[in-house]
């Protein structure tokens, strides 16, 4: 894309993109670390995820401030305007994604260490991986104004939903057979739900990226049902 006649405008837009890229990288890493901490029952790593979330929150505030300045001082138009508005909306969603990762990390101490426990939820790490990749790809799509990559992220949300449905059934079955594990299983159910929500949020970001890149809104898509609400 051609440069603005006013160079400082380009620098501010680059800074905005840089902050969002950093925020996305941190959110992606928070998801991965939280899942790893869960698998390894690593309380220190989990505590680190909780502590690191403060930086994600700080970046959200920084992006909001910069975006408001750009709107006030540069009066952005057309694709620039769409980018700034998308940036504002994206950071609030990524902040939520960070919160979900933090929430998973906070549950680590409450989930038992024994391997038998994790059997019904062997799918959780793969599910977390898919969600983390969605977050990674959607923010790359924003940086590159890549509408196709954003679309691919939207389509991947059903994978996460399918994972969630499987984990849900596995956990319910396990709880029926092992009532003593209900408390821990409930935590794992929340973990699964958090990852499922991360997938939904990544999809919302993808819709914003698609709009910013093309000026068109994505047609309303069929949402995959999740247990226990099929529709």
């Amino acid at each position: 894309m051609a440069e603005h006649t006013i160079k400082a405008f380009d620098q501010e837009m680059d800074k905005l993109r840089g902050l969002i890229a950093e925020m996305g990288g941190r959110a992606e890493s928070a998801i991965e670390k939280a899942m790893l901490a869960l698998q390894r029952h690593d309380k220190e790593m989990a505590a680190q995820v909780v502590a690191d979330d403060k930086r994600i929150d700080a970046i959200e505030a920084e992006v909001e401030k910069l975006a408001i300045e750009i709107i006030a001082l540069r009066a952005p138009m057309a694709n620039d305007l769409r980018d700034v508005i998308a940036a504002l909306k994206i950071v609030s969603v990524v902040e939520r994604i960070g919160d979900y990762a933090k929430n998973i990390a906070k549950r680590v101490p409450m989930v038992a260490t024994n391997q038998r426990m994790l059997e019904p939820v062997s799918l959780l790490p793969s599910m977390g991986q898919v969600a983390a990749e969605m977050v990674h790809d959607v923010l790359n799509a924003f940086a590159a104004r890549d509408a196709d990559l954003a679309l691919a992220v939207v389509e991947r949300d059903t994978v996460v939903d399918d994972f969630y449905n499987s984990v849900f059934r596995a956990l319910v079955t396990f709880m029926v057979e092992n009532p003593k594990t209900i408390s821990e299983c409930a935590h794992l159910l929340f973990v699964a739900k958090n990852i499922e929500r991360i997938g939904d949020h990544a999809t919302n970001v993808a819709e914003m990226v698609y709009y910013a890149a093309t000026g068109q809104t994505l047609p309303e898509r069929e949402r995959g049902g999740t247990q226990p609400l099929e529709d």
Partner: protein, 264 residues
Amino acid sequence: MMHEPQTLKAADTTTKMTARDVKVFYGEKQAINGVSIDVDMDNVTAFIGPSGCGKSTFLRTLNRMNDTVASARVEGSITLDGEDIYASTMDVVQLRARVGMVFQKPNPFPKSIYENIAYGPRIHGLASSKADLDVVVEKSLRRAGLWEEVKDRLHDSGTALSGGQQQRLCIGRAIAVEPEVILMDEPCSALDPIATAKIEELIHELRGRYAIVIVTHNMQQAARVSQRTAFFHLGELVEYGVTSDIFTNPRQERTKDYITGRYG
């Protein structure tokens, strides 16, 4: 190159002026290259584009103001309510009453405020008595949003008013002869932001009563006052569309580069 007319019609709008394949030459030099556009009665149309793009030249073809430039030649057709304004039978003085114009710098006559407004109606025979003229003057000044500020000093000189007031006086003068179309060529470029806001508010109030076309260098102004925007570049009409579309999602790369400040 765009020669296809760009028409944007909603069911309840009416076309006031129509230009088809309009070309303007200044001697050998071609300033406008085949512009086709419909000017809507109910929406304010803004012409934007960089200096020298032809937007003012094109605006001036709409009331034959280019006739005053000896070397200028206009080809193509321009109609007002379906009537060819370049026809030999067209009375140009009458045309310019129907299609009024407001210029960049306020240019009131060096006469009283009252006379500035009364002059046109008097020579066009729109008022037969002093009482009639008083009514026209008050009505015009009210529509121009100036009445309250000048009603107690109608016989002061028009040139003694502030710049913004002078420009509203010029708009009142154009209104006084009951035009159908008002052309404004950068009407706020010599005014401060407050006077500018008053003119913009006035344009908003006049919308619907007159077809309004405004040329502006200030894109924010085009965004604020118009419902239709036409982007000119190098004598061509590059894009004509609904203002909110042009400023959020222009279709042409050249429009996008210009309105986002990337025009190199």
